[in-house]
C-alpha cells in the first residue's frame, strides 16, 4: 500500500461517509432557510440579514441566494454525484469488459498497427457530451418525471455512450494476451474457450479492469460537469422563465457548479465551494488510480536507460 493510494482511498471514503451520514451532523438541513431579517442588538447596532450569507460560524459554507445552507445542499447532492458516477462506471466496465473480452478472444484480427487509423474517427469531432446533450435536451427541462428517474435516464445514456471505448480498450489488451505462450499451451492440452477466458485472460486483465474503472469514474464526473455547463443536470433541470434561470433539482455537485456560473464576480463562494468539493472528489479517484498503477508497476517494469 503506497501513500498515493492511501490518500486517495482516504479522500474517497471521507466523501462517501459525508454523503451518507453527513446529514445527521450538519448544522442545517434543506428545509430551513434564512429569510430577510433586520436585527438590532443591545448596543443599538442594527444589522440587516439578506441572503446569500457569506461563510460564517453558523453557516460554514455560506448560503445560496435563496438562503439555503450550501453545506446541506452539498450533502444532499453528494448521493447523486457519487452513486450515479459509480453506477455508470460499473455498467460501462461490466458490459464493455465482457464485449471487449469476447471480441478480443474470438476475433481473427491481429493487434492493430499503431500508424493506421480508419477515417471513421472523423466522428471524434463530435464530443461525447454533445451526443448526450442531443439526447437529453428535449427531455431534461422541467420534467414531470421524478429526479431519480431523470438521473436514471441520464445514467443509462452515459453508460451506453461509454461502452464502445471501454470495449475497444479491453479488446486491445486481450489481443496482446491471447498471443502469449500459456494460452497456446492451455489450448493444446484441451482447455475450452470458457476455461481460457475465465482462468487465463480474466486474471491477467483484473488489474487493468480496476484501473479502468477508476479512470472511468473520473471521465464520468467530467461529463457530468460539461453537461451541467450546458444546463443538463443529473436528475433534471428546473427552468424558470422570468428571468431565465436553470436550477438543479437534486443539488448534484456539477449541477451546483453549472447553475452558479454567474457567481464568478460576486458571492463567489456559491460557485467556489461546490467546485472545490468536485475537484477534491475527482482528485481522490485520480490518486487511487495512480496509486494502483504504482502498486502493479512494482511487480514488473523496465527502467529507462537515460
Amino acid at each position: 500500500m503506497n501513500k498515493t493510494l492511501l490518500t486517495g482511498l482516504l479522500i474517497t471514503i471521507l466523501m462517501l461517509a459525508a454523503s451518507f451520514f453527513g446529514q445527521y451532523f450538519a448544522p442545517h438541513d434543506l428545509s430551513e432557510h434564512v429569510s430577510i431579517d433586520y436585527l438590532v442588538d443591545e448596543n443599538g447596532e442594527s444589522n440587516l440579514i439578506v441572503p446569500p450569507l457569506a461563510p460564517n460560524s453558523s453557516y460554514p459554507f455560506g448560503t445560496d441566494k435563496y438562503g439555503y445552507d450550501m453545506m446541506a445542499k452539498l450533502l444532499a447532492g453528494a448521493k447523486y454525484t457519487i452513486i450515479a458516477s459509480l453506477a455508470v462506471a460499473v455498467v460501462r466496465i461490466a458490459a464493455g469488459g465482457i464485449i471487449g473480452l469476447l471480441i478480443g478472444y474470438l476475433s481473427k484480427s491481429k493487434p492493430a498497427r499503431t500508424d493506421r487509423v480508419p477515417i471513421w474517427n472523423v466522428l471524434n469531432g463530435i464530443p461525447i457530451f454533445i451526443i448526450v446533450w442531443m439526447v437529453m435536451i428535449g427531455v431534461t427541462m422541467n420534467p414531470s418525471a421524478s429526479p431519480f428517474t431523470m438521473a436514471l435516464i441520464l445514467s443509462v445514456v452515459l453508460a451506453l455512450v461509454g461502452i464502445p471505448s471501454v470495449a475497444s480498450t479491453v479488446k486491445e489488451k486481450t489481443l496482446v494476451i491471447r498471443e502469449k505462450q500459456f494460452i497456446l499451451s492451455a489450448k493444446s492440452i484441451g482447455a475450452g474457450h470458457w476455461t481460457i477466458i475465465r482462468t487465463h485472460l480474466f486474471p491477467h486483465l483484473k488489474e487493468s479492469f480496476l484501473i479502468l474503472f477508476v479512470q472511468e469514474i473520473v471521465l464520468i464526473l467530467g461529463l457530468f460537469g460539461q453537461l451541467a455547463i450546458f444546463n443538463i443536470f443529473v436528475g433534471g433541470t428546473t427552468m424558470y422563465f422570468d428571468p431565465v434561470e436553470y436550477v438543479s433539482r437534486t443539488n448534484e455537485w456539477s449541477g451546483l457548479i453549472g447553475q452558479a456560473r454567474n457567481n464568478l464576480f460576486i458571492n463567489q463562494w456559491i460557485l467556489v465551494i461546490p467546485l472545490i468539493a468536485y475537484i477534491v472528489f475527482i482528485l481522490g479517484f485520480h490518486l487511487i488510480s495512480i496509486g494502483l498503477e504504482k502498486l502493479y508497476k512494482q511487480k514488473f517494469s523496465k527502467f529507462s536507460h537515460i
Binding site: W120, V139, G222, I306
Partner: protein
C-alpha cells in the same frame, strides 16, 4: 473493394450518421402528462426529408435567430473564422509545445513537476477554464489590475488572451503526457542503451534515436488529440462567450418555433470540415517533425 469505393461508403455513412444523430431532440420527447419518454420517429424522419427538400429552395440554409431569419452562408463566415483561428493556434502550438515539453518531462528528474502535470491533466477542461477565470478575478480584486478580460462581453471587445491560453494549455497537457509516456517506454529499449554505449550524446540520442520512434504514436493518437481539442472547443467558446461555430449552432438550436434541425446539421458539417482541415495540418506537422529528425 477498391479504396475509393470504401472511402466514399464511409463518407456517406458519416453524413447519414450526422443526419440521424441530429434528429434526436426532435424524436425524443417526454410525455406531457406522465413524463414518460416517447419516441416520435415520424417527426425525425420528416425533419430529414425536410432538410433535403429545402436544399433546392434554400430553406435549409436559413435559420431563425430570435425573431430574425438569417442566412446560414452569410453568418457562418465570421463564426468559422473565429473557430478556425482558435483551433489552428491550439492545434499547432499545443502540439509543438506538447512534444517539446513531453520530451523534457520524460527525462527530467523533477518529480513534483510530473505530479503537477498529472493533477492538472485529470481536471476536466471546464474546471481549468473556470480556475483561469477565477485567477483573473482574484488578481483584479486584490490589486485592482484586470490582467486579461474574463470573457467577451461584446463582439467589439472580444476576450483574446484567456481563450488563447486555454486553447493551447488543454490539448498541450494531453500531448505532454502522451509523448512523455511513449518517450519513457522508448528509452527502455535496447537500441538506446546501445547508442549510449557507443558514446553518443544524450541530446543526440533523444532527438535522433528516440523521437523518430515516438512520432508514430503521436500520429496514431492524433484523432484522440483532435477529440480533446474539439470537446474543449464547445466548452471554451461557451464559457468565454466567443462567437464561433458551436455558439452559432447551440445558441440558436432551439427557438420559439422549436428545434432547428437544418441549422444543427449544417453546423455539425461545418465542424467536421474544420476537423478534416486541422487534421490534415497536424498530420503534415508530424510528417515535418519526422523529416527533420530522420537520420
Amino acid at each position: 473493394m477498391a479504396k475509393v469505393t470504401r472511402v466514399s461508403f464511409i463518407i456517406v455513412g458519416i453524413l447519414l450518421f450526422v443526419l440521424v444523430f441530429a434528429m434526436f431532440p426532435a424524436v425524443l420527447q417526454p410525455d406531457r402528462l406522465d413524463g414518460s419518454l416517447q419516441f416520435q420517429w415520424t417527426k425525425g424522419l420528416s425533419s430529414i426529408s425536410g432538410y433535403f427538400k429545402g436544399m433546392a429552395g434554400g430553406e435549409t440554409f436559413r435559420y431563425m435567430s430570435g425573431t430574425n431569419e438569417l442566412s446560414f452562408w452569410i453568418e457562418i463566415g465570421r463564426s468559422f473564422t473565429v473557430t478556425f483561428t482558435y483551433m489552428m493556434i491550439g492545434a499547432v502550438i499545443g502540439m509543438t509545445i506538447g512534444i517539446l515539453l513531453g520530451i523534457y518531462f520524460a527525462v527530467t528528474r523533477a518529480h513534483w513537476l510530473k505530479r503537477l502535470l498529472e493533477l492538472t491533466s485529470v481536471l476536466p477542461d471546464f474546471v481549468i477554464v473556470m480556475l483561469l477565470q477565477f485567477l483573473i478575478v482574484f488578481i483584479a480584486s486584490e490589486t485592482g489590475i484586470v490582467v486579461f478580460q474574463v470573457a467577451s462581453f461584446s463582439t467589439d471587445e472580444p476576450a483574446v488572451a484567456l481563450p488563447l491560453l486555454s486553447t493551447i494549455i488543454i490539448p498541450a497537457i494531453y500531448m505532454i503526457r502522451n509523448v512523455a509516456l511513449h518517450m519513457n517506454l522508448t528509452l527502455t529499449e535496447d537500441y538506446i542503451s546501445f547508442a549510449k554505449a557507443r558514446g553518443l550524446g544524450k541530446r543526440y540520442i533523444i532527438f535522433y534515436h528516440a523521437l523518430p520512434n515516438v512520432l508514430p504514436f503521436v500520429k496514431a493518437d492524433l484523432h484522440k488529440f483532435m477529440a480533446i481539442l474539439f470537446g474543449n472547443l464547445f466548452i471554451f467558446e461557451y464559457l468565454y462567450n466567443l462567437g464561433g461555430v458551436t455558439m452559432l449552432v447551440f445558441s440558436n438550436a432551439f427557438t420559439r418555433e422549436g428545434y432547428q434541425y437544418s441549422l444543427v446539421v449544417n453546423g455539425i458539417f461545418t465542424l467536421l470540415l474544420l476537423y478534416a482541415i486541422i487534421f490534415a495540418v497536424l498530420k503534415a506537422l508530424v510528417y515535418g517533425w519526422g523529416k527533420v529528425f530522420a537520420r
